[in-house]
């Protein structure tokens, strides 16, 4: 296990461990209460780590995982440009027309579209694009939107679990543990359809049997013209070209020792170049600035600050201590440790933001390496963390950013989702998905 490495003087002669842990807990608490911008909070925490003497500026900068930052930023740029084409609405409408507007079929199709998009885009963007169309479609069908929005929240978090780029925790885990896009596909993708189908079964049991729509309402669905959703065919072709290149790049990048951030940033730059090709410099500058306003800078700076805060805690030896305590709790039993990581991650992610939680867990798992025979032996722990943190987000309305986004859209549309109603439907279902994940990990890696 790593030793505490704070060699310099800490402000007022305070104990570095307690100061660093207090800063981390304060950032956690204020992020949970949602009274301040979370990027500002994490950057303040980062500043306190440096000004308090726990980290030097060089150590703080070295602690920022620029692979995660680059991958997030690059994908956000690509998505910001792609969403202007209307392709997501096109796919959603095609999907619901394919089932001829049957209410349960519509739910399955929209949830599937959400899950697939979430695997390759960030979950918040996916629900921001799909949920408003869902409100329109359920309105035309004359059905209650809640079951549809509920299924999309679950689908976005389940789909996002499947790939390296699907959910920020996976990006962080992939970068920290040097796991490739292919590793995520090979290890997490196989269980995701099972989790998704079981979730759909439970949704059907809860809501599916009562879903009915009149013939007139279904005819209204069939009157949607998906071709009208495409706003810019030229840009759509460019986006599809770059998206294909980027996804292909992700699948082969590990073989060429290229980090996913390099693929995402190169793809973003290429699409930025292509989208305004042939236009004047003024128009190009204008378009670039427009795209940059769509990048979620709050998330990016939240990550930067958080990486520094967690690095500070790591430098004091607190995380090594936590790892040691976890191992003591499980008697150093690998299977029990995997189970503990999975369940603690799931329960914690249902209650708090999974990004700071995963940021704290990553160095803790790293510190367990020597006890379990080195970094290569840790893979089941990484998959347990990814499955727990991503699927756990389904447990409550505050479990993931996408959940809150859908709740906000529903509220503005006059169909508020009550916290307790969601909890009643989702928490048990989340536990079922974690049981499935536990079984999968056990059978695949521990049996």
């Amino acid at each position: 296990m790593s030793e505490a490495v704070v060699r310099h003087s800490v402000i007022f002669g305070l104990d570095p461990l307690w100061l660093a842990v207090s800063i981390l807990l304060l950032v956690y608490a204020f992020v949970m209460f949602e009274k301040f911008n979370r990027a500002v909070l994490s950057l303040l925490g980062a500043g306190m780590m440096i000004l308090g003497g726990i980290l030097t500026q060089e150590q703080a900068i070295a602690g920022v995982d620029f692979n995660t930052i680059g991958l997030l930023t690059g994908m956000m740029v690509i998505v910001a440009i792609s969403q202007k084409t209307g392709m997501f609405q096109y796919v959603a409408i095609r999907a619901v027309k394919a089932v001829k507007g049957r209410p349960w079929g519509v739910l399955v199709m929209l949830a599937t579209v959400t899950a697939v998009f979430s695997a390759f885009l960030d979950n918040v963007t996916t629900v921001l694009l799909i949920a408003p169309v869902t409100l329109l479609i359920t309105d035309a069908l004359g059905v209650r939107p809640y079951p549809y929005l509920f299924s999309q929240i679950l689908a976005s978090n389940i789909g996002g679990t499947a790939t390296l780029i699907g959910d920020p925790p996976n990006i962080m885990i992939g970068s920290a543990a040097h796991l490739s896009f292919y590793d995520f596909m090979a290890n997490l993708m196989p269980i995701i359809p099972v989790v998704f189908l079981v979730s759909l079964l439970f949704i059907w049991l809860m809501f599916g049997r009562d879903m009915k729509a009149s013939v007139e309402s279904r005819q209204l669905i069939m009157a949607f013209n998906e071709n009208e959703a495409i706003k810019n065919v030229g840009l759509l072709k460019k986006c599809l070209f770059v998206l294909t290149l980027v996804i292909f790049g992700f699948t082969v990048s590990h073989s060429f020792h290229i980090e996913p951030a390099s693929i995402a940033m190169s793809g973003a730059a290429l699409l930025l170049l292509m989208q305004t090709w042939g236009e004047s410099l003024k128009d190009k500058d204008h378009a670039f600035e427009g795209i940059m306003t769509n990048v979620e800078w709050t998330t990016i700076f939240f990550f930067v600050g958080l990486f520094i805060v967690v690095t500070g805690v790591e430098h004091t030896g607190a995380i090594a201590w936590l790892a040691h305590q976890t191992l003591a709790m499980t008697d150093g039993n690998f299977n029990a440790t995997v189970g503990a990581i999975l369940w603690i991650s799931a329960l914690a992610s249902a209650l708090i933001d999974n990004i700071p939680f995963v940021a704290t867990m990553i160095p803790m798992i790293h510190d367990m390496g020597p006890s379990f025979g080195g970094a290569n032996a840790l893979q089941p722990l990484w998959w347990a963390l990814a499955l727990g943190a991503c699927l756990g987000g389904n447990g409550s309305l505050i479990g993931a950013s996408a959940n809150l986004i859908v709740a906000g859209l529903a509220q503005r549309a006059g169909h508020p989702i009550a916290f307790m109603t969601y909890l009643k439907h989702a928490f048990g279902l989340m536990l079922v998905t974690i049981v499935i994940a536990h079984l999968y990990i056990y059978l695949r890696y521990l049996f």
Binding site: L136, A140, A223, E228, R412, A413
Partner: protein
């Protein structure tokens, strides 16, 4: 000049328990854009206007701006479906309960100022202290009165 002298007295009204669709048909046949809604005792409870009706027909998810360009949706079919639903609602479910009211002794200037003040209202209801409806004054009525006065003065000259 006080409000009771230039208001439109005894305006057309509707009851709270009437169907919104029926009242709207009556408004169209009379060329009206609004009707005060009164209870059985004659007390004003709100105003049914073309905008309050339209406000219940256009879905909130469009009004909120979360879904803007929807050229792909059968908008006429959707709106007609909503109109069919809303037209069967009672007037009480649709009326705007926030409306501008003035007393019968308010001056022309203070009524005009109230109309263009915060919120910019097209009309003001003239009501007694017990809520009984006496009349209605619109911005057009005030301008019409002024134009009439100017015309009369020109004719006198």
């Amino acid at each position: 000049m006080i409000a009771s002298k230039f208001m439109v007295a005894q305006p057309q009204t509707c009851r709270l328990d009437e169907q919104a669709g029926e009242v709207f048909k009556r408004m169209r046949s009379l060329g009206l854009r609004l009707m005060p809604a009164i209870d059985a005792g004659g007390t004003v409870k709100g105003v049914l206007s073309t905008l309050s009706l339209l406000g219940h027909i256009v879905p909130d998810y469009i009004v909120s701006g979360d879904l803007d360009a929807i050229s792909y949706a059968p908008d006429f079919g959707l709106l007609r479906k909503h109109y069919d639903i809303v037209s069967n609602w009672m007037v009480a479910d649709i009326i705007d309960t926030q409306y501008l009211s003035v007393g019968p002794n308010e001056s022309l200037l203070s009524v005009a100022a109230a109309l263009i003040g915060s919120g910019r209202h097209e009309y003001a209801l003239v009501v007694e202290t017990d809520g009984g409806l006496l009349g209605i004054i619109s911005a057009g009525d005030i301008l019409g009165l002024l134009a009439q006065m100017a015309n009369d003065r020109q004719n006198d000259v």
